[in-house]
Symmetry: C2
Subunit: 142 residues, 2 copies
Amino acid sequence: MDVATGLVQLTGLVQTIYARVSERHGLTPVQAKLLCVLLDGPRGMADLAHCFGVEKAALTGLMDRAEKRGLAQRSPVPGDRRALQVTLTDEGHQAATAFHAEVSAELGHLIAPLADDDREHFRSTMAGIIARCRTSSASSRR
Amino acid sequence: MDVATGLVQLTGLVQTIYARVSERHGLTPVQAKLLCVLLDGPRGMADLAHCFGVEKAALTGLMDRAEKRGLAQRSPVPGDRRALQVTLTDEGHQAATAFHAEVSAELGHLIAPLADDDREHFRSTMAGIIARCRTSSASSRR
DNA sequence: TATTGTTATACTCTATAACTATA
DNA sequence: TATAGTTATAGAGTATAACAATA
């Protein structure tokens, strides 16, 4: 198996696990991702749209559904009456924490059979790929 | 960065690349995946649905669109008048080949900066994870 | 003028349930 | 009865374009 095929299949595997855990928590994968992002703190709508790589109009629909399910809420931002801040509700925070823990556990199972040094090598290789990609996309944005 | 986070972020990276290349070829990621699967030969509708992990009704819509775009076609199966066989059109085959080559190249760039032995180690670790997951899901299906 | 967010519209992808035709 | 595929319906997610309100 070549590297490209491996990457595509590994990606499919992770997506499947992510989707399965999402469903188990009554979430769509996108809603789960939204909750996980918000776990790091409140965000503006435009900020979230950029972070998700979608148009702001898509965020409106996403947040409409998240709000209807009682997972997150929009609140005004003092000092800018155009802006809205998105925060997790208590229920959303609970769901996000539980989801995150379960995904981490399931992904952990995936690499559990590896020898300790293989796992560490794999982890640092992934981290390197991600870091390099971040810097290259950051530089191309200048 | 822990392994679970690494897997999720690497998955996001690969998905982004896959989506970008798909768009460059006028395809949705799902249509691109369909073409790639069909590159290995004709398939039945139910077979494709199972392979995609979706209901057969979803395949009907997927194939309606693929057929309308002239990428693939349904044809009768001699010997079973219920069944349909899905094959790539010439245009679909061309699109599939071009897409596959470009995705492989872009994913290759991702791991190009790695040292040769790091890349090989990474590749074989991925292959191992995938193989183990295949056998475990196969055994749980028994 | 630029930015923040919403609305309207259309398309893709998906699930479920009910259906037809064939095995 | 079981299998192969379709239709109808509903909902999620997305893009585009036009809009309102505020900076």
